[in-house]
């Protein structure tokens, strides 16, 4: 019984990170209809910036907001200087229509190369903000540690902040209107170019948070978030790609499933299983487990 609960807790912690990455991908997809492969690159660059702050100040809690803001800024710049220009020409031919997606793939490679040039390819350690030794109850120590609790709590806070912004503020209304129907939003006076960029900035921030949360439990290298990108995509597709709630739930479903596979079957199966889940969802319910009109508005 306790093994099941422990596995579930670890799954929720891992799933939280997937949810954040998935949220980043969904925010970009909703605002510009671009599948953003560069998200892993943007997140890794933000995380390295956080790493620089940690190594110089020895303070994780300073690195966190710095990485978050860098992520937002990088996201906004990618939209303004790359995606917006490509999207304007989207009707000028068959290549132009998919050009933004191809460009994000190119950008992923470019950012990784730049990060490699600046910081090299060595695996680096990120200072732990809180311990990764599991909580102890009496004489038993469980795998779930304060770092996992930090991940889950931070993710919940981030999700709550996003849901308040989207559901309760004028900015959120403008963001949703632009996502659902850019033309009608513009005719109502919404500056859609701006809301798109804000969507990219929010996504960049969410990806950066995923990066600085997951890296202390792992190591940092120019490619260390690539697998997270894959998990983020799987989670986003499970969630239906359109809704923030779907992104969150998709991440949890994936995280918990992977935790159980790792614990009860084999640790080498984790990524094959992620892809099997992805293909099963696409084949059986292409709109995503949580997709469809009802959650789209959320």
């Amino acid at each position: 019984m306790s093994r099941i609960i422990n596995t579930l807790l670890i799954g929720i912690s891992g799933g939280s990170i997937y949810s954040l990455m998935s949220l980043a991908l969904v925010l970009v997809w909703r605002s510009t209809r671009v599948v953003n492969f560069a998200q892993a690159g943007q997140a890794i660059l933000s995380t390295y910036i956080g790493y620089v702050v940690v190594t110089h100040t020895d303070n994780y809690w300073l690195a966190f907001p710095v990485a978050l803001l860098s992520g937002a800024l990088i996201g906004a710049l990618v939209d303004i200087f790359l995606i917006r220009i490509l999207a304007r020409r989207a009707n000028s031919g068959p290549v132009a229509a998919i050009a933004p997606v191809i460009a994000t793939l190119g950008l992923l490679g470019l950012i990784r190369a730049i990060v490699g040039m600046i910081w090299g390819g060595d695996l680096r350690r990120f200072k732990l903000p809180v311990t990764n030794h599991g909580f102890t109850f009496g004489h038993t120590t469980i795998p779930f540690a304060p770092i996992n609790l930090l991940i889950v709590v931070t993710t919940v806070i981030v999700m709550l902040i996003f849901s308040v912004i989207f559901q309760r503020t004028n900015l959120g209304l403008a963001l949703r209107a632009s996502a659902f129907s850019p033309e009608i939003a513009r005719l109502a006076g919404v500056r859609v170019d701006l809301t798109r960029t804000i969507g990219w900035a929010f996504a960049g921030a969410a990806g950066a948070i995923a990066g600085v949360l997951v890296t202390p439990t792992n190591y940092l290298s120019p490619n260390s978030l690539d697998l997270l990108l894959v998990s983020g995509f799987v989670a986003a597709v499970i969630g239906g790609l359109e809704s923030l709630i779907g992104a969150a739930l998709g991440g949890l479903v994936l995280g918990i499933s992977l935790a159980f596979v790792l614990e009860y079957i084999s640790s080498s199966l984790a990524f094959p299983v992620a892809f099997v889940v992805l293909m099963a969802v696409l084949l059986i319910k292409p709109a995503g487990l949580f997709g469809g009109k009802r959650v789209r508005s959320a």
Binding site: A174, R176, I184, L187, G189
Partner: protein, 237 residues
């Protein structure tokens, strides 16, 4: 020159000259009905006037200022509001949110509240459905919502694309009467694009008849209604 002045406007729709040298003008406070068959270039005309479609050549001014090559969201800030064809509402948003959208950019929140109340007085059925999502509305209610939202932007020039599309005759009559009374009450200049020629001309001050992107004739709507040749050729009976 005050009012809307369109001069020798050319707009392509793909390879087709959808608007092919169109000129007409609408004085401030007038309601103009743009009439013509499907494919006459009416919708393209409105989209070109409000920055949704790029213009080849020609000019269009509102109170002397060029309105071409501007973004629709900037035109809204100058009082030029376009209600696009179909029911121009966002189905995933609630009625309340659709209305709020028209006033998001406005600084004068007091006036937004005032005009929202006026809209709800004009279309009480919207008030009963404020928290419902817009896709639960009937076609007529969606049109009321689209027009209501446009009013919250406090337009001086309102461009309406086929508000009668897909509505029952009784509902069309209601919508047309609402447009007519708004024009008079708010001193709105209205450009009403319609396939329902007779209905539109009955409430209009002037009619602009277009065919294949070109002007056929422009004149007081009563004269157009009474002209037997036009009736036979363009007004459907």
């Amino acid at each position: 020159m005050s009012g809307l002045v369109v001069n020798d406007l050319h707009v392509f729709h793909g390879a087709i000259r959808a608007v092919d040298g169109l000129s007409f003008s609408v004085e401030t406070g007038q309601l103009a009905a743009i009439i013509g068959a499907n494919g006459a270039g009416k919708t393209t005309l409105l989209r070109a006037l409000t920055g949704l479609k790029s213009v080849q050549s020609g000019s269009a001014t509102w109170n002397g200022e060029s309105m071409l090559r501007q973004k629709p969201e900037n035109l809204v800030r100058q009082g030029i509001v376009h209600v696009s064809d179909g029911k121009s509402v966002i189905p995933e948003l609630s009625v309340k949110e659709n209305l709020a959208l028209g006033g998001l950019w406005r600084r004068d929140k007091k006036d937004v509240a005032i005009v929202t109340k006026e809209v709800l007085d004009l279309f009480p059925r919207l008030g009963e459905r404020m928290s419902q999502s817009a896709d639960t509305l009937s076609g007529g209610e969606r049109q009321m919502l689209a027009i209501g939202r446009s009013l919250i932007s406090r337009p001086s020039l309102l461009l309406l694309d086929e508000p009668s599309l897909g509505l029952a005759p009784l509902v069309i009559e209601q919508i047309f009467q609402a447009i007519k009374s708004l024009q008079a009450r708010l001193n709105l200049t209205v450009v009403l694009v319609e396939q329902n020629a007779m209905g539109a001309l009955r409430i209009a001050d002037i009619g602009v008849i277009v065919n294949l992107g070109r002007l056929v004739t422009v004149g007081p709507s009563q004269e157009l209604i009474n002209n037997p040749a036009l009736r036979a050729a363009y007004l459907g009976y």
